[in-house]
């Protein structure tokens, strides 16, 4: 019995979820971030937990931390000066990327400035072919010459990436040895060590991201470990990962790339824990903060995974929880153009200066200001009392737009909300079409500071009939850390036709991956509990240019049941693309293995059931659906298990505000989640 702590750092706040296993109570906390001194806020939070809840640091059995230090390093371009050593003739692979650019109608479309400028990219002779054979020996002298120039041009670290190294790492390793021998002061990463998968751009850019953030992440984790120890926390700190799992600090310090998206991933994992607990199988999670709005799908209880998620302007190709950005959050700015059209975003007031109503110098109307003018916000202190709502300021900025539009103040505020909801609607629709799912079977789970404010409105636009607002929407990402498993991904590029001839290689690869995974989990992570393995393969019909990940049973590979593997692929292909081509030859491109060491699920206290309707704090006037309504304001802490009520209503709590339109009925479950269902 002890304390389990999940910590997540966001743009403005750092969130704490602390489970006291003796009382089975969860305590939450938000502390303002200290961007200049990352890590200090963690200590501040620990101190507050000690003061407020009597936590003894020595009793902390698990400390799981998600950090944005990696992703911020990329976004702010504050990473290490790197050199890239690659094959001569292929120095421009990272600049050309995959050619296609997103803004395809613009003559000014461009790719982002690379993390390694071309004058620190060095081509050397040496060549491995697609079958892993060596066509040309590595020119080690050329590596030495490149190092000299790299150092002269300011490189602090070296990335080595050679063609087909996922098949044969010998040349990368030989070049690495040269670097270690001649330049021991430079850190060095080989691309095939970071993520040994076929496709040179994807593998190289992933390794570059790793090296780019390495010094900062390493430094941060090192000082965090020291500080925690200094505070008396003896449990080894764990770091959350983009794949929704966690790893120890030693691993985090070298495999920086696997934590870059841990914040958004943890949110989805936290939400998926909550939906599982509440018996909700399919969910659309909606995480809105001041500067971002993200959605993710949970299908049959499982988060969805993918690669190619963006880190700032750069795609990342390690497995990550799939999260899609659908807008810029509560700070999105509204404007009126020359035709009189009302636009919301893409400009954002961010967290600084933030919405006008926060009184921190914002002077343009944002979504949050519109919510304030309508009367949804401002009934209780916001964001753990760190923000004071000045409704007058919101009215002034929204009023300026109202005059341009020739509409009333409230009508304008509601128009801003409608326009922004409709643009999120368009983005969610793409996601839905991509996955081919029917949102009619889904529950929207809004969280983040601004998610519950917009959730019901977006659900209504999308035709989603059920909304579940977690008890503490502001700390769902921190909760994700609390429930994370010790988890890692392994991959082996096979690129074989699914035929008997390839079977031996497949069986050998599986055995090797399993040994690698066991080594990672047991000695490296020092994990003693129950572990689960999941085997899958990226497969395709010959001639296709992309693969589909299909979950396989180990026995199929071990027993040589190729028909079962093929059938699983046809089924998966049908599920995603609505057809299968049973006559076509199937290729197996990559074999994957995920190992996950289970964490004991947290056991939260269950509320006793009461009956009846909650007592409103008071009645408030809110402009909603074109008219002023008097509706009840509830405080979240007064909503008890079993309570029932009908919209329209506002629920205020210290980390968020829930806006409930007319036509929704609310009930509270045993864990305090608020379930809203469309009536009729």
């Amino acid at each position: 019995m002890g304390w389990r702590i999940g910590v997540d750092i966001g743009g403005t706040f750092i969130d704490f979820c602390a489970l006291d296993e003796k009382t089975r109570q969860m305590h939450t906390l938000k502390v303002l971030t200290t961007p200049d001194e990352p890590g200090r806020e963690v200590m501040e939070g620990i101190a507050l937990l000690q003061q407020r809840h009597g936590m003894d640091p020595a009793e902390v059995t698990s400390f799981v931390h998600g950090t944005t230090v990696g992703i911020n390093t990329v976004i702010q371009r504050k990473g290490a000066d790197l050199a890239l050593i690659t094959n001569a003739g292929f120095e421009d692979v990272i600049e050309l990327a995959r050619l296609r650019m997103p803004e395809m109608y613009s003559l000014f479309c461009a790719r982002p400035e690379q993390l390694i400028p071309r004058d620190r990219i060095f081509g050397v002779a040496g060549r491995i072919l697609a079958d892993g054979s060596e066509a040309e020996a590595l020119d080690e002298q050329a590596v030495a010459n490149a190092l000299e120039l790299a150092r002269a041009r300011g490189a602090r670290g070296v990335i080595i990436a050679f063609l087909h190294a996922y098949r044969n790492q010998a040349q990368e390793q030989a070049a690495k040895a040269v670097v270690q021998r001649l330049a021991p002061d430079l850190f060095v990463f080989c691309a095939a060590e970071i993520w040994p998968v076929i496709r040179e751009y994807e593998r190289t850019t992933t390794a570059i991201l790793n090296g780019y953030v390495f010094p900062r992440v390493d430094g941060y984790l090192h000082s965090l470990e020291q500080a925690l120890r200094g505070r008396g926390v003896t449990a080894p700190p764990m770091i959350t990962k983009s794949n929704g799992g966690m790893m120890n600090i030693a691993m985090g310090r070298s495999s920086c790339v696997s934590m870059l998206l841990s914040g958004t991933a943890s949110g989805v994992m936290g939400a998926s824990f909550l939906t599982r607990q509440a018996g909700v199988p399919n969910a659309l999670t909606l995480d809105i903060g001041g500067t971002s709005a993200d959605v993710a799908l949970i299908i049959e209880g499982r988060a969805q995974f993918g690669t190619g998620e963006l880190i700032g302007e750069f795609p990342l190709y390690v497995p990550s929880v799939s999260v899609t950005s659908i807008g810029d959050g509560g700070g999105s700015i509204a404007t009126v153009d020359g035709f009189g059209m009302l636009k919301v975003g893409p400009e954002s007031a961010g967290s600084v200066p933030g919405p006008a109503c926060y009184g921190r110098g914002g002077d343009r109307a944002t979504i949050t200001d519109a919510m304030a003018v309508c009367g949804f916000l401002g009934h209780a202190p916001l964001a753990y009392r760190s923000v004071t709502m000045e409704r007058g300021k919101a009215e002034a900025v929204v009023g300026a737009l109202a005059r341009k539009l020739g509409r009333g103040l409230h009508e304008t505020a509601e128009a801003i909300i409608m326009v922004s909801i409709s643009s999120m609607f368009a983005e969610v629709n793409k996601l839905v079409a991509r996955y081919g799912v029917d949102l009619g079977d889904f529950t929207l789970v809004p969280f983040g500071g601004a998610g519950p404010m917009m959730g019901c409105l977006l659900a209504r636009e999308l035709g989603i009939r059920r909304v579940m607002v977690p008890r503490r929407p502001g700390v769902v990402s921190a909760l994700g850390g609390l429930v994370a498993e010790v988890k890692n991904d392994f991959i082996r590029t096979m690129f074989i036709e699914l035929r008997a001839e390839g079977l031996a290689a497949l069986q050998a690869a599986l055995a090797a991956l399993r040994a690698e995974a066991e080594r990672w989990l047991r000695p490296d992570q020092n994990f003693a509990g129950v572990a689960a393995l999941q085997v899958s393969a990226d497969m395709r019909y010959r001639g296709q240019s992309f693969e589909i990940e299909t979950v396989l049973e180990e026995a199929w590979i071990e027993g040589g049941d190729l028909d079962a593997i093929r059938a699983a692929f046809h089924a998966r292909h049908t599920a995603i693309y609505a057809f299968a081509d049973e006559a076509a030859p199937v290729q197996l491109v990559n074999l994957r293995l995920v190992i996950a060491g289970a964490t004991e699920p947290p056991d939260f206290a269950v509320q006793e059931k009461v009956a009846g309707t909650p007592r409103p704090e008071r009645l408030v006037d809110v402009w909603h659906d074109g008219a002023l309504h008097r509706m009840p304001l509830f405080l979240r802490e007064n909503l008890r298990h079993g309570h029932e009520f009908s919209g329209p209503a506002v629920v205020a709590q210290e980390d968020s505000t829930v806006c409930i339109p007319a036509g929704y009925a609310g009930t509270v479950d045993a864990h305090g989640n608020l379930h809203l269902a469309a009536e009729g």
């Binding site: 003739g89 292929f90 050309l96 050619l99 461009a110 994807e202 035709f339 409608m418 793409k430 839905v432």
Partner: protein, 658 residues
């Protein structure tokens, strides 16, 4: 409809179009849809005008496509019907035979409120050559089976007979069928989404919303035109060849801006060709193919612009009949993409004259699509595969250098990883990257070309490279910026077996042969003498510009990796003295060509050609190209007049025909 509801409506309309596009993309079978994204999706108003398109999926060409004429060729519609055609000469909807267009009327009660529509590029539609495309084809009948506008579905039931005719005539029937089904799925999705919109906004609201979207786009386009000075802006640009190994083909444009509207007069454009490089437009005043360049210009000037048929309302095009931009039946049109690329740079050039401050220099202007057919020595299987498209850089921009290795109007293309190609195809890449010194020198340098080199290991390896152009006439620079370097295509470069392939689009290779291809580079913008010396040094260090080119083009002298300030000042002064104030910098090849084929001489040729019946025109042009350069040496009078009088004697029929 009020403007707030209209914005909400716009988002829903975009969502409906994007839903269709993602459904098609997800469920389609062929590489053309999956990899090259050669498909489009639209929501049409009842008149067949585009009201919404997806923003991030598919091709960029059909924002202003008018389905009206083709829709009208089917007499009555009932719920569940789906119309289809791929015939370029039926309503000028399909622009070459591989493109199958389909449209589904969407009924609300008994009225058509909209159509869901789109096109997919089929890998093959039959005809004389695999994939149905070759510039050597001379009439539409060689370019595949043609389906006139007909109902592919009647009240929900597949028109099996029409389908069987199509599938019997094509080389990959299973792919065409798979894509057709995916396409129908997308149209049905569009129907569902549109009906949901009618429910949400009401019938009147939906109609008002559709009209409002077009009005809004029109307003945005007019607002941009108002910001452009009134005037006539003449520009012309050339493709290197009007047929395999042929003469240049000129496209000419007078862009007339008057207040908030514009006329694009293509008079002066070459006669239609006896090759597949014609662009079928029917001479429609607002045919989408004539206006693709305009979409790019408008979007570049205002990225918030709504893409639909409203954008084209302020524009009127004049494309004289019997020219390459308005060929008459049965001219072949399969390879119109090569000419369309030049048509876009033609439009960019005219706008550059009108608003020099806001326009970039010419992008590379051609993207070679490479395919290989070879035999794997280990398996003895024949392998057919697409290799990377070879795309060039963007032109120097007002605010920065041109994007390297793709960009501008080539930004939609994707490449294939080297490692994937080498695993699947028995070839070995020797080089894939950027071509040094290929970007036009300028204050803002043109984007570099991309270069590809590979080796093959089997005899009779067959290579096709579609859209070969710009080996001769370079992407132009503007405002003192130099032209980009031309493209080239070589077999076994630097050996005694070197063979210059230039604009050739088919070649074969033997074991051990190496093929080199590089695209053109983008044009530069602004005088290279104004480029920051530090940036020139950086370009040299990055390998984008050689030390020699830094000295020759930029006047920056670099010794031992550092700038020699004194020598640089002297060199720049020397170069500055030789600079001329020309808007365009075309490069020596076009300058030399236009010394013979001046604007006046070309106008004389255009006049005489236009007076002839269509079937004589290409013939006369070819003869004039043989004769005029020599005659121009002899006489100061118009060499065309002289040549025509000689031809009159040789071919009296020519002038009495018709």
């Amino acid at each position: 409809m009020d403007k707030v509801t209209l914005q909400v409506f716009a988002n829903h309309a975009r969502a409906a179009a994007e839903n269709m596009a993602y459904t098609l993309y997800r469920t389609a079978h062929s590489t053309f849809v999956k990899e090259t994204e050669d498909f489009t999706i639209q929501i049409l108003d009842p008149a067949g005008q585009v009201s919404a398109v997806p923003m991030d999926l598919g091709a960029t060409w059909y924002v202003g496509l008018n389905y009206g004429p083709a829709i009208g060729m089917i007499p009555d519609y009932r719920p569940g019907d789906i119309g289809a055609t791929n015939d370029p000469y039926s309503g000028f909807l399909a622009t070459h035979a591989p493109d199958l267009h389909m449209w589904k009327p969407i009924f609300w009660e008994d009225q058509i409120v909209a159509f869901a529509s789109g096109h997919i590029h089929n890998t093959d539609m039959g005809g004389a050559v695999p994939a149905s495309l070759s510039r050597t084809l001379t009439e539409i009948h060689q370019e595949g089976v043609r389906i006139p506008p007909l109902k592919m579905y009647r009240e929900g039931a597949l028109n099996e007979e029409a389908l069987r005719i199509m599938l019997l005539n094509v080389r990959k029937p299973e792919q065409n069928l798979g894509d057709l089904k995916a396409f129908v799925g997308a149209l049905n999705t569009g129907e569902r989404k549109v009906l949901a919109m009618v429910k949400k906004f009401g019938l009147e609201g939906f109609r008002a919303g559709q009209a409002g979207l077009l009005d809004y786009a029109e307003h945005q386009a007019r607002e941009i035109l108002r910001s452009i000075p009134d005037g006539d802006y003449f520009f012309c640009d050339y493709t290197d060849e009007d047929s395999a190994g042929g003469n240049p083909c000129r496209l000419a444009l007078t862009l007339r801006i008057q207040g908030d509207s514009a006329t694009l007069d293509f008079t002066g454009t070459d006669p239609q060709l006896t090759s597949a490089l014609n662009v079928p437009t029917g001479g429609a005043a607002r045919h989408t193919l004539l206006l693709v360049g305009v979409y790019y210009v408008l979007y570049t000037l205002n990225p918030q612009i709504l893409l639909n048929a409203g954008l084209v309302r302020p524009f009127t095009c004049i494309a004289p009949e019997g020219t390459v931009l308005n060929p008459t039946f049965p001219a072949a049109v399969g390879m119109r993409s090569l000419t369309c690329a030049r048509l876009r740079s033609l439009i960019f050039g005219a706008f550059s004259l009108a608003i020099p401050d806001r326009m970039p220099a010419a992008p590379a202007g051609t993207s070679s699509i490479m395919n290989v057919r070879t035999v794997d020595n280990r398996t003895r299987e024949t392998v057919l595969a697409a290799i990377n498209p070879v795309v060039g850089g963007a032109g120097g921009m007002p605010h920065r250098d041109g994007t390297n290795g793709s960009g501008a109007d080539g930004a939609y293309l994707k490449n294939t990883p080297i490692e994937i190609t080498e695993t699947e195809v028995p070839i070995q890449f020797l080089r894939y990257g950027l071509m040094p010194d290929s970007g036009g020198a300028g204050q803002h340098r043109g984007g570099l070309a991309s270069v590809l080199e590979f080796k093959v290991f089997s005899p009779n390896t067959h290579i096709t490279a579609r859209n070969r152009d710009r080996c001769r006439f370079r992407p132009w620079g503007t405002l003192g910026g130099h032209s980009g370097k031309p493209s080239d295509f070589l077999l076994n470069p630097g050996t005694d077996r070197e063979k210059k392939l230039g604009n050739t689009d088919i070649t074969s290779m033997d074991p051990g042969d190496v093929l080199h291809i590089h695209s053109p580079g983008g044009g530069g913008r602004g005088s290279p003498l104004k480029r920051d010396v530090a940036l020139v040094l950086q370009d040299v260090r990055r390998g984008y510009v050689s030390v020699n080119a830094a000295a020759a083009d930029y006047g920056v002298i670099i010794r031992d990796g550092a700038v020699d300030e004194a020598a640089t000042a002297a060199r720049r002064a020397e170069l500055r003295a030789g600079e001329t104030e020309r808007h365009f910098f075309f490069g020596p090849e076009r300058d030399a060509f236009e010394r013979v084929w001046s604007r006046d001489v070309y106008a004389a040729m255009t006049t005489v050609i236009a007076s002839l019946p269509v079937h004589w025109r290409f013939f006369l042009k070819s003869r004039l190209f043989e004769m005029v350069p020599a005659i121009a040496q002899e006489t100061r009078a118009c060499p065309v007049t002289e040549a025509v009088s000689r031809l009159r004697l040789r071919y009296p029929e020519m002038f009495t025909a018709g």
